[in-house]
Structure formats: structure tokens, C-alpha cells
């Protein structure tokens, strides 16, 4: 007997009939040809979140982003007019990579008044204009106005900086995000500027890894240690209170008693000692009022909301802090994983320790996911089995692979 009501159709999956209920192939996660299709149809077309406005604190702040699957390196910079712009990180003279430090393949960040090419000293201002050509009169009919940095479409939504590598994006960022995501317009991400950033290079397809974070069905099996052993029971299930789909994006909400409202045997001593843990600080400043878009299912009591923004962004909101994951494909069987936890800045050591405990515990269980999914990838690559059953709690996995397929075939 479900604890949470299902839609009238009997299941969340049937509530979205276009999803079907049959088995699903993960060929899209092992195929080199499919990866090539994703490169063109998804990563060179969709809006991609590359950072937050807090990553560009002042005029002249910049960071570079390597988008391997799109063969792109992008430099994102806050101009003298406070506008955030993105450019291809390429000097227009001989094609040298413009902004990098020490290792040309690695990302960099910093602050500058202009960009200087290391190779021949061409200079560009923060708006991308070419401002200086070494020995300009040795060139033939060269007009600097023709040699500004190649722009990349860049828009900011609620502090999230997105780029689009298409020549002309088919949708504005807001159109692309759609009503379900833009219903978070009022959520004060900007207040959560204390960040704990992580990265990893994982041996799994980007979708295989994303799948692990859009269902909680695996939690009792892969992460039994999330529950202290005294109260760990075999056969425990997990049920989400609400699922919702909007275009290529999707979300789920959990509900029920907060971990810290359970009896103490449901918490580890360190959680009790720090009043923090897997689900973050128990106390902390409250964000009032939370926008309705955060809990579109009206779940009560509300737990967390997990927004999956197509193609490779996840925003997990815990109320007064949030988590972001990004999955950057680097080959059919590997991806670069980025994650961060963001809290309102600690006002004292106690809050700082609360955040530390949440960040440490996050890593513990993410390591289990990363460790196992290398194995999933290797097994999928045998291609011995092609049809895999997905249950109703895995509806978002089903929808994700369908959305990817739809974009590829569009």
C-alpha cells in the first residue's frame, strides 16, 4: 500500500502515457555513434549551465569552461558594464587558446582588465573587441573590428550562467527552461554563497551517472549505511511523494518526517553532535517564504525537491541550502562530474561545522555511487542484455532517456 497517493492512472509513469511502461535499452549509454549524435543534437543546441554569477564577483572576473563533447573551450567574463558574456576561447590570429594557465587542457579562473594572447600578444577587451594587434601594419587589409572574439550565446537565469553553442539558439533561455523550472524564479540562490565544490572524472556515461541521482530506489541497497545499523531493516523501500515532467526537464519531491525529527537511533552520533548530516543543517536560517514552485505537488510535510534540468544539470533544494550536479561527457564511457553544496555564509563556527559535516557526508555517499557506476558502465558495454525494466520510482530515468532520444532524432 503506497504511503503517497499515485495519480488517477494508477502510476506516475502511466500519468505520462508517452513514456510507456516497457523495458528500456541503455544502448544510448554505450554507443560511440550515439555519442556523436548527442554532441550535435544536444550539447551544441541546448542551454548549458557553466557556472553561477557568484563565480564572477566583479568586473573583470572570468572563468573558462571546457565543454569536451562540443569541442569547445568557453571563457565567461563579467565586463566593465557588469554584463556577463561568453566567448570561444580562441585567439583570432593563429587559433591559439587565449586564456589558460600552465596546462592548456585545464580550466582556469581569475581577474583581468583585458585578455592577452600568450603567443603573439594580441589583446581583447572584456567585451571581446580586439584592441591591439602586434605590428598591425604588417597585416594585409586587417580591420580589428572583424577580429573580435567569437561570441557564444550567454544568458543568466536566477544567477545561473548558461551558454548555448548553437549559431542561433532555437529558444531563449527562459523558453528553454519552461514553466516548471522558471517557477523557481523567486528562490534566493544568491543568498547561498558559501560553496563546497567537488569534481571527479568518472568511468561511466554521463547519463548513467545522472540516472543514479534521479531515483531513490537504489538508496537502501547501495547506501545502507545512510541508516545506522541499529535501525537498518532489510527490505526497506523508498517512495517519492511527487513526480513532475515539463518538456525535457523533470523533478521529484520527497516528503515525510525529517531525519532529525526521528528518534535518535536514526542518527549517527556525529549528526547529533553537530546537528547536521546527510540532509544538511538541522537548524540554520530559514528561507521565507519558499516559492510555490519549489513544491509543485504541494507535498506536506515537504522534504527535498530534485530538479533535473535538461541536459546535464541537477539542482537539489533542501530549503535553506542547495546542491548542484553537472555531468560533462568526455567520451561514450566517461564524464567529468562537478558538484557543489551551497549554504548561506556561516556566521560562526557552529554553522561552519554544520556545513562541513554535510559536505563530508555528501562525499561519502557520492563515492559509493561513483564506485558502483563504473561497474554498471562496464556491464552495459557487454551489451548482453538490451531490455531493462524500470519501476514507477524510476520514472525520471525513463523520461531522461526518452528526452535524449527525442532531441537526437529531432
Amino acid at each position: 500500500m503506497p504511503r503517497w497517493p499515485k495519480p488517477a492512472e494508477g502510476s506516475w509513469t502511466e500519468h505520462y502515457p508517452e513514456l510507456g511502461t516497457g523495458t528500456v535499452s541503455f544502448h544510448d549509454s554505450v554507443s560511440a555513434e550515439f555519442y556523436e549524435l548527442e554532441r550535435e543534437a544536444i550539447f551544441k543546441r541546448a542551454w548549458l549551465n557553466v557556472g553561477r554569477i557568484e563565480d564572477l564577483p566583479r568586473k573583470g572576473s572570468y572563468f573558462t569552461k571546457e565543454i569536451h563533447i562540443a569541442n569547445a573551450s568557453v571563457v565567461v567574463v563579467r565586463g566593465m558594464d557588469d554584463e556577463v558574456r561568453a566567448f570561444h576561447n580562441i585567439c583570432r590570429h593563429r587559433g591559439n587558446k587565449l586564456v589558460w594557465n600552465e596546462f592548456p587542457r585545464e580550466e582556469s579562473q581569475g581577474f583581468c582588465r583585458q585578455f592577452n594572447c600568450k603567443y603573439h600578444g594580441w589583446r581583447y577587451d572584456l567585451e571581446g573587441n580586439c584592441t591591439f594587434v602586434q605590428q598591425e601594419d604588417e597585416f594585409f587589409d586587417l580591420d580589428k573590428a572583424d577580429y573580435g572574439l567569437a561570441p557564444v550565446h550567454c544568458e543568466v537565469w536566477n544567477g545561473f550562467v548558461f551558454v548555448n553553442l548553437d549559431r542561433e539558439p532555437r529558444q531563449t533561455l527562459r523558453e528553454f527552461l519552461g514553466p516548471m523550472i522558471t517557477a523557481l524564479d523567486e528562490y534566493p540562490f544568491d543568498k547561498m554563497s558559501e560553496r563546497y565544490d567537488f569534481e571527479a572524472d568518472n568511468n561511466s556515461n554521463w547519463k548513467v551517472f545522472a540516472d543514479a541521482f534521479q531515483e531513490y530506489y537504489h538508496v537502501p541497497a547501495l547506501h545502507p549505511q545512510q541508516t545506522p545499523i541499529a535501525v537498518r531493516k532489510p527490505g526497506m523501500g523508498v517512495e517519492c511523494a511527487h513526480f513532475q515532467i515539463d518538456g525535457p526537464h523533470r523533478m521529484t519531491t520527497t516528503g515525510g518526517a525529517r531525519r532529525w525529527n526521528l528518534p535518535p537511533e536514526y542518527q549517527y552520533p556525529v549528526e547529533i553532535a553537530t546537528r547536521s548530516g546527510l540532509l544538511g543543517p538541522w537548524d540554520g536560517p530559514t528561507i521565507e517564504p519558499l516559492p510555490a514552485g519549489l513544491n509543485p505537488g504541494g507535498v506536506e510535510p515537504w522534504g527535498i525537491s530534485n530538479f533535473q534540468v535538461f541536459p546535464n544539470l541537477e539542482i537539489l533544494i533542501y530549503g535553506n541550502w542547495y546542491l548542484v550536479y553537472r555531468y560533462w561527457p568526455t567520451s561514450p564511457s566517461t564524464h567529468h562530474f562537478e558538484a557543489y553544496l551551497a549554504f548561506p555564509p556561516a556566521r560562526n563556527v557552529r554553522e561552519r561545522v554544520e556545513h562541513e559535516c554535510a559536505a563530508v557526508m555528501f562525499k561519502e555517499f557520492a563515492l559509493q555511487d561513483a564506485g558502483m557506476l563504473g561497474g554498471t558502465q562496464a556491464a552495459l558495454e557487454t551489451q548482453v542484455v538490451d531490455g531493462f525494466p524500470l519501476n514507477d520510482q524510476e520514472i525520471l530515468v525513463r523520461h531522461f532517456h526518452k528526452a535524449v532520444a527525442d532531441w537526437v532524432s529531432a
Binding site: 589558460w100 594557465n101 600552465e102 596546462f103 592548456p104 587542457r105 585545464e106 600568450k118
Partner: protein, 107 residues
């Protein structure tokens, strides 16, 4: 290891009397800029005297201690770039670049 009149350079001999460029370059990347600065400061004031001393021998018949001294001077040249120019062991922005010596005159 070194000729008697250069005994005060002995503390550097074990690290820097290296016969090949490969060893000298590897040591440069391994020891840190502080150690190179100390070596540089100690050896450069004696470099002219060392060259004058070594000139009394035919180049291909250097006694062992003199040969060690010559290798020490080669190391002095090796560390001069980190110390005088880069202020760090590596050439800036050369993170993934290498350029390996495969033949050089002996000595």
C-alpha cells in the same frame, strides 16, 4: 668530491654534481626554488675562479674532482633560469611539455 679549494661547495656536491642534463633537469624540478636559490647564491661567486681552475687541465683529461666541479657548474647554469628568470622551477605555462636530452658531449 670537489677540489680542496672549493670545499665550501661540498654541501651542494651530492645533489648537484650530475653528469647528464637529464639528471640536472630532473633535480631542478624536484628540489624546490629555495634550495636552488641557496645553491645559486653559493656557487655563482666562485664560478669564475672555478672556470680558471678547470682551465689548467685538458678538457678530456679532467681529474675526477675537477670533473665533479665542472658538473656543478653545469648545474649552476641549469638553475639560473628558475632563479634569475622564472622564480619557479618550471618554465611558466609549460605544464605538459617536455624536451628530453638524448645526446650531449662528454664531459
Amino acid at each position: 668530491m670537489l677540489p680542496a679549494r672549493f670545499t665550501e661547495l661540498e654541501p651542494f656536491a651530492a645533489t648537484w654534481c650530475l653528469a647528464t642534463e637529464r639528471e640536472r633537469y630532473a633535480t631542478r624540478l624536484a628540489v624546490g626554488i629555495q634550495a636552488m636559490q641557496e645553491f645559486y647564491d653559493a656557487v655563482t661567486p666562485r664560478a669564475e675562479e672555478a672556470m680558471a681552475y678547470l682551465e689548467q687541465f685538458p678538457l678530456d683529461e679532467l681529474p675526477e674532482d675537477a670533473l665533479n666541479l665542472l658538473h656543478l657548474l653545469y648545474s649552476m647554469i641549469e638553475v639560473s633560469f628558475p632563479v634569475e628568470v622564472w622564480h619557479q622551477p618550471r618554465v611558466p605555462d609549460s605544464g605538459s611539455a617536455a624536451f628530453d636530452s638524448f645526446t650531449e658531449p662528454r664531459p
